[in-house]
């Protein structure tokens, strides 16, 4: 089968790229091993947040946030997106200082989170424990249902004329590009690598290996509780994140599960789960009376600097990467696809991608003094 563009991997980024390329009139074939949105795109926390991001990610996050406001027009559903506000909490003075530092930086990008000090957070958020000393609220941030986004992007891409083939595990890739999947050959002059964790294997095939690891966010959900907390909650350091959905359940995560990407199979782990449960109660003491009804994880690609690899290949003309979103790519997915479509069709994108260059791992000095680097547990 011949196409203009072949896409490997049907997460949010790949499905969005298929949609945007099809809208620009290109013949697109996307190959997905399982069902679209099965791994990192489908099992994550569902945060639609600019809050707390590395400055390198802010431009694309801001673009993505604009797209989320128009999601229903783009794909026929808002995937339960709600601008609930993202409240990032500080549990000590050093963390409070970190919130202020980020807020000052974000102002340069036109974002204006509201700092909530010690007295105000007591007065306005009685449900927090005394451990919480301050917070930074970005009201335009929110959340969506990750289980719905990638399938909806895929449906819209199909409606726009793209061919998305699920159950098509890639068994061979040759320059040119010729890709084998399910006993069939697919050829195209342009190849998009949106393979999540497995994107690292694709990059390595083209002589540009990256230090990627499987990242398995350890996620849990409680039984439904009376709704008391409408914001998405995060903390400086990222060791716990929570949100209460309108049904009342509290979804929270922290730490890492385990996986075998070769199968693929992934599982949460008890010890990180206990740690996350303890941290959750430390912030919201009333969770001590709630029950966890389910835990889960999936497989994402984690990079050492917690930033994705995104942009043109350094070895192979016609190859573009967008993978390794390090646990926070869900909200970016729609914009990543738009950017990839621009790179393919226009040769450039208005969205700055400098921080995502696949060549950066060879330049150790560039990584060392990054004061915005997120800790990868």
């Amino acid at each position: 089968m011949k196409a203009d563009v072949l896409i490997l991997g049907g997460g949010g980024a790949g499905c969005s790229a298929a949609l945007h390329l099809a809208q620009r009139g290109l013949r697109v074939v996307l190959l997905e091993r399982g069902l679209v949105g099965s791994q990192a795109s489908g099992v994550n926390h569902g945060g639609v947040r600019q809050q707390g991001r590395h400055p390198a990610e802010l431009p694309i996050a801001i673009r993505a946030r604009r797209m989320w406001a128009q999601m229903a027009a783009l794909i026929g559903t808002d995937a339960e997106f709600e601008a609930t506000g993202h409240l990032k909490l500080a549990r000590n003075e050093a963390e409070e200082a970190e919130l202020l530092r980020w807020n000052a930086m974000a102002a340069e990008y036109g974002l204006h989170p509201r700092m909530i000090g010690r007295n105000a957070i007591r007065a306005d958020y009685a449900y927090f424990s005394d451990k919480v000393v301050a917070g930074s609220l970005l009201e335009e941030d929110g959340s969506a249902n990750p289980r719905l986004l990638a399938p909806a992007l895929a449906a819209a891409a199909r409606a726009a004329g793209a061919i998305l083939l699920e159950g098509h595990a890639v068994t061979g890739i040759a320059p040119g590009f010729v890709v084998e999947a399910k006993g069939q050959s697919f050829t195209a002059p342009v190849l998009l690598n949106t393979g999540g964790f497995w994107g690292g294997q694709v990059a390595a095939q083209f002589g540009e290996p990256v230090p990627i690891t499987a990242l398995n966010p350890n996620m849990m959900v409680t039984e439904p509780l009376p709704v008391f907390c409408t914001h998405n909650l995060g903390v400086v350091g990222g060791d716990i994140y929570l949100r209460q959905i309108s049904r009342g359940n509290i979804i929270f995560g922290g730490g890492r599960g385990e996986s075998d990407p070769a199968v693929p199979v992934s599982r949460p782990l008890p010890v990180p789960s206990f740690n996350a449960m303890q941290r959750a109660i430390e912030i919201l003491p009333q969770l001590a009376g709630a029950m966890v009804i389910r835990s889960w994880t999936g497989i994402d690609g984690g990079m050492p600097d917690a930033l994705p690899v995104m942009g043109p290949s350094r070895t192979t003309p016609g190859l573009f990467h967008a993978f390794g979103f390090s646990g926070h790519g869900f909200m970016l997915g729609p914009a990543v696809g738009a950017v990839l479509a621009e790179l393919v069709v226009d040769g450039h994108s208005e969205t700055p991608l400098e921080g995502f260059d696949i060549g950066r791992f060879a330049r150790q000095d560039a990584l060392a003094d990054d004061t915005w680097k997120t800790r990868l547990e």
């Binding site: 069902l35 385990e258 949460p268 001590a288």
Partner: protein, 441 residues
């Protein structure tokens, strides 16, 4: 050698008996306060009904099992009121929770999962009304607490339990409003049932006893709705409305196989019992070394078989770990298990799961009661398989994690896709097996 047995029903008791006889002191986990399992569940301390009143024809069997179990407790690391809520995929570790507060992680060299079964239900309009329980729930209420679920109870479903529970309720003095068996009488005439003549005759006795006392019996009948406003008023079936204040419903059993799932065992769809079952050989060995299965948790076969299978799996476990086991004992058990399998096949055929009743469920019927998801919502989601159906609609995402609605939901989805039920797969298990407190940490 560190051996763990999960469950103290018929399979668990007979397994532990063999392990103790071989000189081991196994860890023995039971979710309830006492051994006996659901089938021989015991009343709380201080209740005075004797075994004859509680277990009828099975009194001797129950007594024997209870006596053995009571002796074994002292030869084991006995952990009652303990939920095994996780078994790790890559490490030989069980995560347990005792009395809701005491959390532990236990390593094992071998584990025998005897996790039992639960009712298989088909939602009908009104099934979420107070006063509607599963067949097993109705029986447990009677056995443990000596109470009936209502004063005028209708029983609907199919399978041996339907007739047994109705009989037990009538004997205990409750009014049986009707027995509605979705299986036609002719379907139940199976020569294979003669493989276990005693059980077959007991079944005939229950039916005859109920008929003789004028209990209305409907065979080959389909329930249409449970009517009432805040409480059960009637069970409506094709052509009849049966006044009642409680309904027990159940269409056979399904394995409680979440731990087998978390252990990473492969599952297969067993067409005879119409259930997904974890893979095992005839002796209870599984694809994961050190993990064994016995009893209904590995596929529905009933309490008699569970006792045999528990013993057999324990012997397999011992032999695999270098302990001498008497080949005569294993061959006797193997022969008994084979014989029972012939009976079981006939029994399943005699009381088939009415998949069409689930498949034809009205759009407005609540399918997932935890999340209030209707059959229509699942059909509209057009998911290609069950886990996608869950992702799109929240079906099976509530407290029970799809243990109740899963089988019926699969029928609804398969019928709407026009494929066989096994082709829509099954809901993936996730820890915890049952809810655990956030405060556990």
């Amino acid at each position: 050698m560190k051996v763990a047995v999960v469950g103290a029903g018929p399979a668990g008791v007979r397994a532990v008996e063999r392990l103790v006889r071989a000189g081991l002191r196994p860890m023995w986990f039971e979710e309830g306060p006492a051994s006996g399992g659901r089938i021989y569940q015991r009343p709380p301390t201080g209740f005075s009904r004797d075994h004859r009143a509680l277990y009828g024809f099975e009194a001797r069997r129950a007594r024997a099992l209870h006596d053995v179990a009571d002796r074994l407790r002292f030869a084991c690391d006995w952990r009652p009121e303990t939920l095994v809520w996780n078994i790790r995929r890559t490490e030989p570790v069980l995560d347990t929770l005792t009395r809701g507060t005491d959390r532990r992680s236990e390593t094992f060299d071998a584990v025998l999962l005897c996790t039992g079964a639960m009712d298989r239900v088909i939602p009908v309009p009104g099934w979420t009304l107070p006063g509607v329980t599963t067949m097993g729930g109705a029986q447990v209420a009677l056995k443990t607490q000596g109470v009936a679920i209502g004063s005028r109870v209708a029983f609907v479903g199919t399978g041996p339990l339907l007739w047994l529970v109705a009989f037990q309720y009538a004997k205990a003095g409750a009014e049986v409003a009707a027995v509605v068996d979705t299986t036609p009488f002719a379907t139940k005439l199976r020569p294979g049932l003669l493989w276990n003549l005693a059980t077959f005759l007991k079944g005939l006795y229950y039916v005859g006893w109920l008929r003789a006392r004028g209990v209305p019996v409907f065979e080959g009948a389909m329930p249409r709705a449970i009517e009432g406003d805040g409480a059960v008023r009637a069970l409506r079936i094709e052509g009849h409305t049966i006044a009642c204040d409680a309904v027990a419903m159940g269409w056979g059993l399904k394995p409680e196989a979440q731990l087998a799932d978390l252990a990473g065992l492969p599952f297969r769809f067993d067409a005879v019992q119409h259930n997904w079952v974890p893979g095992q050989d005839a002796a209870g060995r599984t694809a994961r070394p050190g993990v064994y299965l016995a009893g209904d948790g590995g596929g529905i076969a009933g309490a008699e078989v569970a006792e045999l299978a528990g013993a057999r799996a324990a012997l397999a476990l011992l032999a695999d770990h270098g302990v001498f086991v008497d080949p005569l004992e294993t061959s006797v058990l193997d022969r008994q298990l084979w014989r029972q399998a012939q009976f079981r096949g006939a029994l399943e055929a005699a009381f088939p799961f009415p998949a069409h009743l689930a498949a034809e469920m009205e759009d407005a019927t609540i399918l997932c009661r935890c999340e209030s998801i209707t059959a229509g919502a699942l059909r509209a989601a057009a998911a290609p398989e069950m886990n996608r159906g869950k992702a799109f609609t929240r079906i099976g995402m509530g407290r029970c994690q799809g243990r109740v609605c899963g089988p019926a939901a699969a029928e609804v989805l398969a019928a709407s896709l026009g494929c066989a039920v096994q082709d829509v797969g099954r809901l993936r298990g996730q820890a915890p097996v049952k809810p655990i407190p956030v405060a556990l940490a």
